[in-house]
Symmetry: C2
Subunit: 420 residues, 2 copies
């Protein structure tokens, strides 16, 4: 019979509307398999909490709170932007992790993050092997950017996709009723870094050419100012108005991000402080003179649990749950991922892949997901994203607002010397 | 027995998530009282459509579409920012309205808007009286800014309040999990012009001092940069992070808007606002050096029908419906308004008030609704706003997105000469 071991869970990188659903999946699986897994600890503020022995005892959280995690945005245990260096550059940190694992009799490490954490998780398994410490290191995927390879999609993306598509559709209805005497162009800036998946999701709101958004600017397509201006003009002249979705990572022909354009100065001589939407607005004002409005959703989009996709929530939960089952089945240095079995009707399963095949790779929009002129999505893209935003998974409300929870987060008493 | 007359409905000014619920109320009441009201026409793009004889025959819209209006944002018939000048300055426009009324045998005029349209509605009733044309001119209130007098609250406000409070709560959960190694300050810019009601609504998200938002910047309180910086520092040092809600209309001690990077003025003489969040971010960066993010919700907030307040939707509908009943009971130059009967439990009724008492007045936040230091809401404000965001009124979804409708908007054949 297998010896019972403890486990550690940590959240990494930018949080999402559903990363806590993955946490709930991990915790519930550990509770279900309590014959094989002892205590599940969580790193306070991600891997930093593990390094600094700031561990939360998840067994002290009542089941009702774990259930509520499924509908609570943000990272319930705290996350961090902290990338462990390479083994050569900072072997001490990896050794410290193994030291912590040994002190807490850890047999399972569940790391919930994006590209960087897949890489860290892989290295943890490598150093553990080198040092002869037995560990099952599992990477539970998460990123709104949807840029992990192998997996059909990434948990967090479906919900942000539903949010941006809903938001731009709603803003489109607003503009459609006002353009006659007021705003003619509306620009919504969305996240996604170098990948245009979130910008692409805005395209779902438009079900025919005249419906907003009329233009999508992808980071994968070099910004063509003249072509863009022509397209805006066409939209205003033919539909009365123009709604634009722009990705934060939009680049000019020199590969420079447009948002980094510190040359943009307003009427008072103030520099624009970030934000590609105001830059695009400025170009429209200068070249066409149309009245415009712009919005930058920023964190609102990745925290918008109130309009999460039911598919996304369930996938996030299952990836956490199945990740634990894979570890118990003996897996190490793997990532549970989503395999699309069928698009119509949408069917998916969870499989596992070696982290070596995932770490440090990025998945961009394929060119055939983008329309020929580069300014909208193409049909294959619509077919790909649509199932991912299916279903509403509303949180409970209290006093008119979503009733999100904060955990007790009881820390365990430290056993080791401080790490520094 | 009363002679059957036709009616005109028009939407005015910035649209809201629930102005179409008022439209549905007006239309359904007219259909219910079809023994007294003949055809209900709607002005295409508001009062401009009436002036230009661009009238939509609402009787050609099937009942299912009218029912769907209740959950569709924007202005279904089109709205406009077009303020009729004073009677002295532009008597022709008012006479044209009466000419249209006469041509279409109009006995009832329902004008759905904010401050400016209340004034227009009043003038229409005055010129009609002067010219001996019998009309019942009813102003159906609407404004997200919540700045109309007499009425306890304005339809549109409850939904935007629910949206901003939800959004800032969600962004707060995001920040709370990331501040250790990433963003320490988040700023959300909200609408409201010179009134701080929407900014105040953000305060509902915070149920204790350490919960976000930690700071609210109202247009009613002159921006005190030093006090603000101290407060941000305190929040970051004590809670680890700081979430700020800022009203677009925030002013410095010279009465200048901080966002005044645009000199654009609309037809009502209002400055086009937007962009105070990056200004505040710049101040924080310069004085404290904290890493920040900011969001500008812009139209997203007033179009967010997906998270409308059930109370708001019902009040908007009832104001439209009761407005028709008031007209049928003989009222003229009045506005149906919401009277708060009790706060706990929340009870309200719809009463009527003479437009003379409403037009051209603005209601700002009372000083005792704002905390002593000027940076948050006080208890009376919380008690006032809370009932207005109660209840969820979700739209139906199709393909993962809210299923909003576009009307047929069949125009009637013109009878008169063009107006110009």
């Amino acid at each position: 019979m297998k010896i019972k071991k403890n486990a550690i869970y940590a959240q990494s990188g930018g949080v999402t509307a559903v990363i806590n659903a993955s946490a709930a999946g991990v915790i519930n699986a550990c509770r279900q398999y309590s014959d094989q897994i002892g205590t599940l600890y969580a790193g306070a503020n991600g891997i930093l909490g593990v390094l600094n022995e700031e561990l939360i005892d998840t067994s002290l959280e009542p089941q009702s709170m774990i259930d509520a995690l499924r509908h609570t945005p943000g990272g319930a245990f705290g996350s961090c932007r902290y990338k462990l260096k390479s083994l050569e550059q900072n072997r001490r940190e990896y050794e410290r992790l193994i030291e912590i694992f040994a002190a807490y009799d850890i047999g399972y490490f569940f790391y919930n993050g994006g590209n960087d954490s897949a890489d860290t998780c892989l290295k943890v398994s490598q150093i553990a092997e080198e040092l002869g410490y037995p560990i099952h290191a599992i990477h539970v995927p998460k990123t709104i950017d949807n840029d992990l390879v192998v997996t059909d999609n990434c948990p967090g993306f479906g919900s942000v996709a539903k949010y941006v598509a809903t938001s731009i559709r709603e803003a489109g209805f607003d503009l459609e009723s006002m353009y006659k005497t007021s705003t003619k162009v509306f620009i919504l800036e969305v996240m996604g870094r170098n990948a245009g998946w979130i910008a692409a999701a805005c395209g779902l709101a438009s079900e025919s050419e005249e419906q907003p958004p009329h233009i999508i600017l992808f980071p994968e397509i070099t910004f063509d100012e003249d072509g863009f201006i022509q397209k805006v003009k066409y939209s205003v002249e033919n539909y009365g108005y123009c709604v634009v979705a722009v990705s934060e990572g939009l680049k000019d022909r020199y590969g420079m991000e447009l948002s980094a354009s510190q040359h943009t100065v307003d009427d008072f001589g103030h520099h624009q402080l970030g934000g590609v939407a105001p830059v695009i607005a400025g170009i429209i004002k200068k070249r066409l003179g149309y009245k415009y409005h712009w919005a930058v959703a920023d964190y609102l989009q990745r925290a918008a649990r109130h309009i999460a996709s039911a598919v996304d929530v369930e996938q996030a939960y299952q990836l956490g749950f199945k990740g634990v089952e894979m570890a118990l089945a003996g897996a190490n240095a793997v990532m549970p991922y989503i395999k699309r079995v069928s698009t119509t009707p949408y069917q998916w399963s969870i499989e596992q892949v070696a982290l070596k095949q995932v770490a440090n790779k990025e998945k961009f929009m394929p060119r055939d997901f983008i329309s020929e002129d580069g300014f909208h999505i193409a049909e294959p893209c619509r077919e790909y994203i649509l199932p991912l935003i299916e279903g509403e998974d509303y949180p409970p409300y209290k006093n008119g607002l979503p009733d999100y929870v904060r955990l007790n987060k009881q820390h365990v008493v430290k056993k080791l010397k401080d790490f520094n």
